[in-house]
């Protein structure tokens, strides 16, 4: 006999049953999550140790060996300056993996704080800010990001700030509605009756309960951020043109597609795609586990 009643026999849904387990164990049990994490880890290792892993110096030009198709020596071929595409793909993840997570983190932190305030305090500020958010949502985020980058310059810091600020209202909107759902529960008035102040209400009482939403939002936005950073680089707004960068490389080589030099575009493009897919796999499994 035990005081911990697991569940009524009627509640046979596996989710309810599984909730007793720690979230990370549920996640690791999902193949989609494992594959996603493996892809992410691969690119993170490449970003950190790229130079040591790469078979060639990604910056070394071979003017005699330009635009060579994939071969035993250059698995992914060489580009128009004779640089090894495989080495550039391996080392080209670095700027994306710095800018995108930082920007997403910034947007998530600010957006969560804003969403908590809007959802809990409500009132006129909520109405006004929500309209502004809807206006921002009406434009594709990438266009706004592009406009600001053009206006303010392409430094790493600028990209982080701009993408982070653009994400803020988007994340705030999602968090706000999660907070409003929480506001319907009785623990909120119960805490108010203990005389808790708004700050504590938001960050100690409500925030822990909306964290799953925040986590899902972070992973989903991270995918967008990678896409945005790569797009900026492709459009010529990448940071430090001399270092390998998938977006910049695609931008430099896609005009040569017509000449049949497909490997110079394909492999960096696949790299971007794999990274985004990896993140989406992780995001999907987190969402399923936390929502299910």
């Amino acid at each position: 006999m035990t005081e911990i009643v697991a569940m009524p026999a009627g509640a046979v849904t596996s989710e309810a049953e599984k909730r007793g387990q720690p979230v990370w164990r549920l996640l690791l049990g999902r193949p989609t999550f494992d594959v996603g994490v493996a892809i992410l880890l691969f690119w993170i290792i490449c970003a950190i140790f790229g130079e040591s892993i790469a078979p060639h110096n990604p910056l070394a030009q071979q003017l005699l060996g330009t635009n060579k198709p994939p071969s035993a020596q250059h698995w992914f071929g060489t580009d128009s300056l004779g640089r090894d595409v495989l080495s550039r793909v391996i080392t080209g993840s670095r700027s994306i993996l710095i800018i995108a997570p930082l920007a997403t983190l910034l947007g998530t932190v600010l957006g969560t704080a804003l969403g908590l305030a809007l959802g809990y305090l409500r009132g006129i500020v909520d109405t006004v800010v929500s309209r502004v958010v809807e206006a921002v949502l009406a434009l594709p985020a990438i266009i706004i990001i592009f406009l600001f980058v053009v206006a303010l310059g392409v430094s790493t810091l600028n990209q982080v700030l701009i993408i982070g600020f653009i994400f803020t209202p988007l994340i705030a909107r999602t968090v706000r509605s999660a907070v409003q759902v929480e506001g319907q529960l009785d623990y909120v008035p119960a805490a108010r009756l203990l005389g808790e102040r708004s700050g504590r209400m938001m960050f100690v009482e409500i925030l822990p309960n909306v964290l799953p939403t925040v986590l899902v939002e972070f992973t989903v936005r991270l995918g967008y951020a990678i896409f945005a950073v790569a797009t900026l680089a492709f459009l010529g707004f990448g940071v430090q043109v001399s270092t390998p960068n998938w977006g910049t490389d695609i931008s430099a080589s896609y005009v040569l597609l017509g000449a049949g030099y497909w490997w110079e575009t394909l492999f960096p493009a696949l790299a971007i795609a794999s990274l985004i897919i990896g993140i989406n796999l992780v995001a999907d499994s987190i969402e399923q586990v936390l929502a299910g």
Partner: protein
């Protein structure tokens, strides 16, 4: 049907088979690779046109029985042993087409939540008509039959209702529609799974009357599943009591409830306040311990760990079903001695100090609350004047929508009342919004909510939940806090090992104890109890009520007790206020309000409650449902439903004042008290 189908029905071959015959059925759910048995060796029979009740607490397997009968078990569930026959046919052996035919024509189900049983995107008429279309009628004909069927379930103006969407219906109406759909196919078996649990008492009474009426009219057997013993007593010929997946007692309903032969049934019946029992007459008896976890594999009697008279053999070997009378069985070796079952809870009580004469602790004057949305104003409370005496329990009753919760929230400062209201605590004015209240005032007023799942922050541990008011309101810290915490945990009968757990790891009763501990942590003067036991099982409910009564005696607190369960209100309350459409209809000492003369609305509420004791009061029926607060009736707001409305027409035009009809007993009614006394004593006489 295939020709080879066996005919397992007992008795002479010419007799029609039983509506349901279940023999030695086991059902198990496969959870994480392991089979967990949800039902064990369940056997019962429902004769033709018989009404069979299944009672049990949550987790006892009631709904699993219903699901197994219709083969609606979830994918991980299966009938692992035994046999089922529905009108002689075996649903377990059916192929998809036969099963569809069974569900379409032979068996219908009605669930607890009518809102979930109806498709929100399809008009009511079309949904009911679908049943007839499946049966092969043309669309026009089906629609016509649907309308007739809605009339049959006593929906007034069925033509208009056919055009409505489910969300436009009240809960009672929606359940009628579901019942209409269920009986449209003229099933031989109707399964009702807690059909009235989500409804108000007055609506419940109407729906139960409807079901009883239809039963007489139709050729249908009933399987009625409920946790409410009184409802089963009212509706069923025979009853089976389920406990942890086993049918522990069975027999004619009246006999089982009057003279139970299994310790669990005895305990369950003692958990319910009956025949006007009140807290000062003695505590309710509670069943100690907890339901075994699903999939338990304990030898011996399933109830032995909680049974006060269990012997050696009870723990060693599971008792068979003993024959204890005509059509009665009990799975208890000691079925002859259960009547002398000792109480688990001492009957003697610590009486609270009599309310002092120091004046009311809370006074509410002219408290109104108007909610406006889209230009429409709903008056949830209208000029409520109420005193709450020191140390008393004031019961607040009324149907949902009567303003009970709004009144409590206004008192607590969660819903500031309209301008002009005056709420005082100890003679000092309280701010309408709790942010305007002082620390002492905050501390003085606390609440225990209905649903602990919602009221406890699910990310916080029990320790954190209970310690917070001690730190925040009582200003304790360090050693002092730990000591008070341990004290508080003991006084709600929890143990230190519960402290590191989170709410989801606790049973419903334990969660509610945590909520109670939190409410008492700051040393409150007035605690609002908003349906504190309605989310709990009967056996747990008794323990919580006892705890609340004990705490009141110990801490000298005042209770504002909100409940729709009049038996509980009578048990716990000293005075009772009856609310209707935001107005107090009657206010007085509990005994006076219950014994009468009472307001016609109170009379209707009381007569709507099914009684376990088999006294059939000549019910005065309320027609329709509570009117909308956006457009309340003129004159006396109750006149549209009042069975005792005066012929003079005064009820329609003038609102009666809340006047004292005898010392301490106030009523808002045009009918003179003497006349009311006459009318009501006449109604009670058969």
């Amino acid at each position: 049907m295939t020709e080879t189908a066996p005919s397992p029905a007992p008795g002479p071959a010419t007799a029609p088979p039983d509506a349901v015959l279940v023999e030695h059925m086991d059902v198990s759910y496969r959870v994480r690779g392991q089979d967990r048995r949800a039902l064990r060796d369940v056997s019962f029979r429902i004769g033709r046109n018989e009404s069979y009740g299944l009672v049990g607490e949550s987790g006892s397997g009631k709904s699993t029985v219903a699901l197994a009968l219709t083969r609606y078990l979830p994918r991980n569930g299966r009938v692992s042993a035994g046999s089922i026959r529905i009108a002689g046919r075996d649903p377990l052996a059916m192929n998809a087409a036969e099963l569809r035919d069974l569900r379409a024509h032979a068996v219908s189900m009605v669930y607890q939540e009518p809102g979930k049983a109806l498709n929100p995107a399809i008009r009511v008429g079309n949904q009911v008509a679908e049943v007839y279309e499946v049966a092969g009628l043309s669309r026009a004909e089906a629609l016509e039959r649907a309308e007739a069927m809605l009339g049959k379930v006593q929906i007034s103006d069925p033509r208009r209702v056919t055009q409505r969407y489910p969300h436009e219906l009240s809960g009672g109406m929606a359940q009628r529609v579901v019942i209409a759909m269920a009986i449209a196919a003229e099933p031989s078996l109707l399964i009702l799974d807690e059909p009235t649990t989500a409804l108000d008492a007055t609506v419940e009474a109407e729906v139960l009357d409807l079901i009883a009426g239809l039963r007489a009219e139709l050729d249908t057997s009933l399987l009625f599943i409920s946790h409410n013993l009184a409802v089963i007593a009212k509706m069923c010929d025979r009853v089976g009591v389920l406990y942890a997946g086993e049918l522990i007692e069975e027999g004619p309903a009246r006999q089982v409830f009057d003279e139970p032969r299994h310790p669990y049934t005895v305990g369950l019946l003692r958990c319910i306040p009956r025949q006007g029992q009140r807290k000062d007459h003695g505590r309710l008896d509670a069943i100690p311990g907890f339901l075994p976890t699903p999939g338990h594999s304990q030898p011996g009697c399933i109830f032995a760990p909680r049974c006060p008279i269990a012997e050696e053999r009870c723990r060693d070997e599971a008792p068979p079903a003993f024959d204890v009378g005509v059509g009665r069985s009990s799975r208890c070796y000691l079925h002859d001695s259960v009547a002398a079952l000792p109480r688990n809870t001492p009957a003697d009580v610590q009486l609270p100090a009599p309310p002092s004469d120091a004046g009311p602790i809370v006074t509410l004057r002219n408290v109104s609350k108007t909610f406006s949305s889209r230009g429409e104003e709903a008056r949830a409370l209208v000029g409520v004047n109420l005193d709450i005496e020191r140390g008393e329990t004031l019961g607040l009753v009324g149907e949902s929508g009567s303003g009970k919760t709004t009144l409590a929230r206004a008192l607590l400062g969660l819903t500031p009342p309209d301008a002009g209201a005056a709420i005082e605590l100890d003679g000092k004015p309280l701010g309408g919004d709790l942010r305007k209240r002082s620390g002492t005032q905050l501390k003085a007023l606390q609440i225990v909510f209905q649903n602990p799942d919602s009221a406890l922050n699910r990310r916080h541990t029990v320790r954190r939940l209970i310690a917070r008011p001690l730190a925040k309101l009582a200003g304790l810290s360090g050693r002092a806090l730990d000591e008070r915490l341990a004290d508080l945990v003991r006084s709600v009968r929890m143990e230190p090992r519960h402290l590191p757990l989170r709410p989801r790891q606790l049973s419903g009763g334990l969660k509610q104890r945590v909520a109670i501990a939190r409410a008492f942590g700051g040393g409150p003067r007035v605690v609002v109890l908003d349906e504190p036991t309605s989310a709990l099982d009967v056996s747990v409910q008794a323990a919580i009520l006892n705890l609340l009564a004990d705490l009141q005696a110990k801490e000298q607190v005042t209770y504002l007790f909100i409940s729709h369960d009049l038996g509980l209100v009578r048990y716990l309350s000293d005075r009772i206020a009856v609310l209707y459409l935001g107005r107090i209809m009657e206010l007085g000492p509990a005994e006076r309000v219950f014994s009468g003369p009472h307001h016609p609305y109170t009379e209707a509420l009381l007569s709507a409650v099914p009684s376990l004791d088999g006294q059939r009061t000549d019910r005065i029926k309320l027609s329709g449902e509570i009117p909308s607060a956006t457009n309340p009736p003129t004159g006396c707001v109750f006149h549209t439903r009042c069975p005792r409305r005066l012929a003079s027409g005064i009820c329609e035009v003038a609102e009666p004042p809340l006047a004292e009809v005898e010392p301490g007993h106030l009523m808002s009614c045009h009918i003179p008290i003497d006349q009311l006394t006459n009318l009501q004593s006449k109604a009670r006489m058969p």
